[in-house]
Amino acid sequence: MAQRHLLLEMLFRATEAASEADILEYIRSTRPASDTTEGQTVFTRLREYGLIEPLADAQNRYEMTEPVRALLEHLLQSYRVMSSEAIGGYLGQLERYTERLGAAGRQNDSESVVLVLKNADALLERIRTDARNSCLAVMEKTTEIKSSLQSTPLRERYTQISHLWSTNIVPLEEVIDIHNAIEGVLSSLTATLTSLTRTFQTDSVITTRVTETWAKVRRMRTQTFTAYREAKLALEPLYRSIQREGMVAVGAARYLKLIEAKGITGFEQVAGAAAFLSHGRNEALFSDIDAKQFLAKATDYHPDHDITLAPPDETGVQNDDVGILQMLDWVHDAGDVSDLAEFLRTKIADFRATHFFDLALAALDSPEIEVQHGTEPTETVMGGQCWYGYPISVKLKEQIPR
């Protein structure tokens, strides 16, 4: 059998239990040229030597025994990781064992109970081993990725690490998550075990086996949690660091595809992009000259006393309603306005500098209004701030009936 290492490796790497015909085919395809032993003889020896065993609940299906698998894992330095698909398979298998245990218990069939418990033990051991292997695979791969950080392009590294995360950390999480389906199956199994101890309380063989299965459930849970914690500790820093960089690549690729599909205006369809790409300019609010003059005045302002800001005038017209026409009406009614800012402050609720600039600019552009700059600076409260500047006086050029 020592010459049959290729056959053993093939059995080891088989993703599911093989039929006798499958195994005979493995034997044929891996037969050394010097070996003339019949395939059927080799198959029998595999069973006699305890290298393979029949799957308890399947007809004519065989798989490698757990001790041999563990040894080969060590020898081949290859870790069978726990995938989400594998967990699905384990889940179904555990459910079936639980049902069969319950049925055997109800029928007082101790022989079946022992057989099913043996299979359940093997399955629990497999889950535990897979969890451990997942952890080892993560640590091994993490070291490999770290050693090639600079030479591996971002997209490739992002794919590697995301794959490692989803194929190893996520399945481990599924096993330890107490809200997950597998927890329900394990609870059901332990409840059945409790029931069996009552049914077979005088049968020491059964009670011993049940106790062993119980211990295996506990060990599987504990060690899976440990494996999860270790694997996460190893991979998480790398995963987090690659996340942002990966998002840059993903985002850039998405933008480019959007532009290819919809042209450069595709930006407008992305929430937030317009604000990102807005320029410093806020057109039509006020002119540069006005703003610079205002900023210069703010800089020069030196108050000689503390200023108490008046509470906002809630009785004024809401600022959203105010436009040039409304202002013309007010100016028409008031006649000459010596200080437009102060005048508007009394008219507009929540009066702010931006409203003043808007309306002052409109007044300057209006053919109906004559504007003059005052010579004595005044203070005006706008938007909770006290502004200091030369007042603008306005009056209608002609008393146009309104």
């Binding site: 993903v250 937030g272 790409l277 931006t354």
Partner: protein, 185 residues
């Protein structure tokens, strides 16, 4: 009673206003002007806010103005320039951010016309050739996104705004008509 200090007695305010207003992004490399801004950021932010501008301090320390209004045509073109560059860097380096800020790029070796796909995207941004890119790069320099010396480009920290845009989009679920654009190829 001593007079309270004027919060808005801010030095070189007109210069800062002019620079920021024309879209300049100010970062530590800008020396005195940046230092003044960074000394009393909140006063500048409040003052600009009072006249309708949003002065933003990015976590990387640079300042810029936004209006929060519609995206500008110029910024859209700049974004295309950056996204093509990021796409190229993601295929070649372990980190786009590190490659962007730690390397220099000879202008003639920019990847924007390496492939037909990139060329078409650049045409969409009205930048059909390497020659057309030259004045555009000068514009980017004047806005503070990069510096050019001996025809070699070095990207400055404000370029990070476009990295942020990509991360934001990557965190947004794809629209129904955007299928297949999510994963990095």
């Amino acid at each position: 009673m001593s007079a309270p200090p004027n919060r808005f007695a801010l030095p070189r305010l007109p210069d800062l206003y002019s620079e920021l207003r024309r879209g300049r992004h100010l970062c530590p490399e800008d020396g005195d002007l940046y230092a003044l801004l960074d000394e009393r950021p909140q006063d500048y932010i409040d003052l600009f806010s009072a006249i309708g501008y949003q002065l933003t301090r990015h976590r990387r320390g640079f300042y810029y103005l936004t209006s929060g209004a519609q995206s500008s045509d110029q910024m859209q073109r700049i974004a295309v320039f950056y996204f093509v560059l990021f796409d190229h860097l993601a295929d070649r380096f372990g980190s786009v951010t590190d490659a962007l800020f730690q390397r220099t790029f000879p202008a003639s070796e920019l990847p924007h016309f390496f492939t037909e796909r990139y060329t078409l995207l650049m045409e969409e941004a009205k930048l059909p050739s390497l020659e057309a890119l030259q004045p555009f790069l000068r514009r980017l320099e004047s806005l503070g996104f990069l510096s050019i010396e001996n025809d070699t480009i070095r990207f400055r920290s404000p370029s990070a705004r476009f990295l942020d845009m990509c991360v934001d989009l990557a965190n947004t679920p794809p629209a129904a008509d955007e299928a297949g654009t999510e994963t990095p190829e």
